[in-house]
Subunit: 247 residues, 2 copies
DNA sequence: CGTATTCTTGACCAACGTCAAGAATTGTGG
DNA sequence: CCACAATTCTTGACGTTGGTCAAGAATACG
């Protein structure tokens, strides 16, 4: 429980069991720590390694010339970042730490060896990549045809489902390190409008946020408000959802 | 020039040369035709094959319960659709034909044999998938922090770059089969607002659209208006851009 | 040549953005 | 544990982008 490797194992539920073992025993892994709001790799940088988030939240973002910022994705514990990204010349966006982050770096050579030794790991990587694209598509949908309140509700549903799949929720609540300003840049709105939309969700008793924790008393109700359907997360693939209490 | 295989070869510029040869000689390929506005595979269907667009435009879309539609991606000639998608249980969106489409189906078995025989094809698949995610991220950015006129301009720039990379432009113009209603569902706006934004682009002499063809007299100017940068398309990777005239 | 689709326009309205300032919360050093 | 500074949250007044509804004009198509 105390050391990095067991913590890592704990969060590997999105990969197949064989991949877990293989990755966890990988000697060439280097473990790195980042402070909150520190960039991990920037737009324009050449990517060299694949990263696996052990703890903390990272996020991808892009910034336009005039300062407009868009948060593109959240990387939660257990997520692999930039599978095979070293195929590309340079990063087209920035990966940053939202909270303090611990991650392990996997070199192309190590990854290559791994996929040779454990063919199923290649499949696991493809699976997670396909889920990433699907999620990005859902975010596009979210921005394109949902209203402010629905957008936020949808984001909360996704976060809750994803954290639940790696056992990081408690009953009806989960961590929520995103500030209203972050939520604004994630959902393409202003902080003022986020604030007012959150108030509506609170008034309707669909969520509460306190001390950086999100509580969803009635998930089904929130899903309805968000027009949310979890199919794009393809969680049933692994069958490894790990609810903390009822399993 | 006349038969499918040479036409296919023509459009393979996004894959490495070895992949081209391998895929083009693949005997197990089945060639399919779809009419305009026909669905190729629907949300909820189980995916069985990978598809390679030989001619015509396909598109991915999602529909909410109340009818709102979001166009999520465009699949242009030469694009592979749903690499390894058979890893997933079911489609989380629909793939449809925008114009009449010719495509070839590649079975998992054929793909598996291919990647074994030509390891570089696996890399090519990863490359195209990574570009797909990057493009989806850019669309998220487009919706999240660009204004109507910028959004449309950005979309036109992307289409022009992508078609140019497979030699499907003529001078400063390219096909534009999207109706204003399609553009609306792509950019998350209404047809009325698309219409007015297009008028602005036309008035400023940045584009003209006539007979389903888009002309961009000054691409650099349009890029500036769109806050467009082609880096996310990672075109320099293959170095195989094929401009029709100057090559 | 007629019908369906697509485009265009107008009038009006709602969702969301801007600006600004004060309250609450968080984090840090003494 | 407190004091103080920095963030973050909240609220108000008002402006703008883009949505709605509706109807006529222009194109595309069989």
């Amino acid at each position: 429980m105390g050391n990095i490797h067991s913590r890592k194992l704990e969060h590997f539920t999105q990969l197949s069991p064989a991949s877990k073992i293989a990755l966890s025993t990988l000697a060439s892994n280097r473990v790195c720590h980042y402070g909150a709001h520190e960039d991990i790799i920037r737009e324009g940088d050449r990517p060299h390694v694949m990263r696996l988030i052990l703890s903390g939240w990272a996020y991808r973002y892009k910034q336009l010339y005039d300062g407009r910022r868009q948060i593109l994705a959240l990387c939660l514990p257990g997520n692999l970042c930039d599978h095979n990204v070293f195929i590309l010349r340079e990063m087209d966006h920035t990966l940053g730490a939202l909270t303090p982050v611990t991650l392990t770096e996997i070199t192309p050579a190590a990854l290559h060896a791994l996929t040779l030794a454990h063919p199923c790991i290649a499949q696991a990587l493809w699976w997670e990549t396909l889920v990433n694209v699907a999620t990005q598509r859902e975010w596009t949908t979210n921005m394109g045809c949902r209203y402010a309140v629905e957008r936020l509700a949808h984001l909360f549903c996704e976060i809750f489902y994803r954290l639940r799949s790696v056992g990081l929720i408690e009953d009806t609540s989960c961590p929520m390190p995103l500030t209203q300003s972050d939520l604004a840049d994630t959902t393409g709105m202003t902080t003022v409008h986020v604030n007012r939309s959150l108030q509506e969700l609170r008034t309707k008793r669909l969520i509460t946020i306190k001390h950086r924790r999100l509580t969803i008393p009635d998930l089904a109700a929130l899903e309805r408000r968000a027009l949310f359907s979890p199919s794009y997360l393809h969680l049933n693939h692994t069958g490894q959802r790990r609810d903390t209490k009822e399993g």
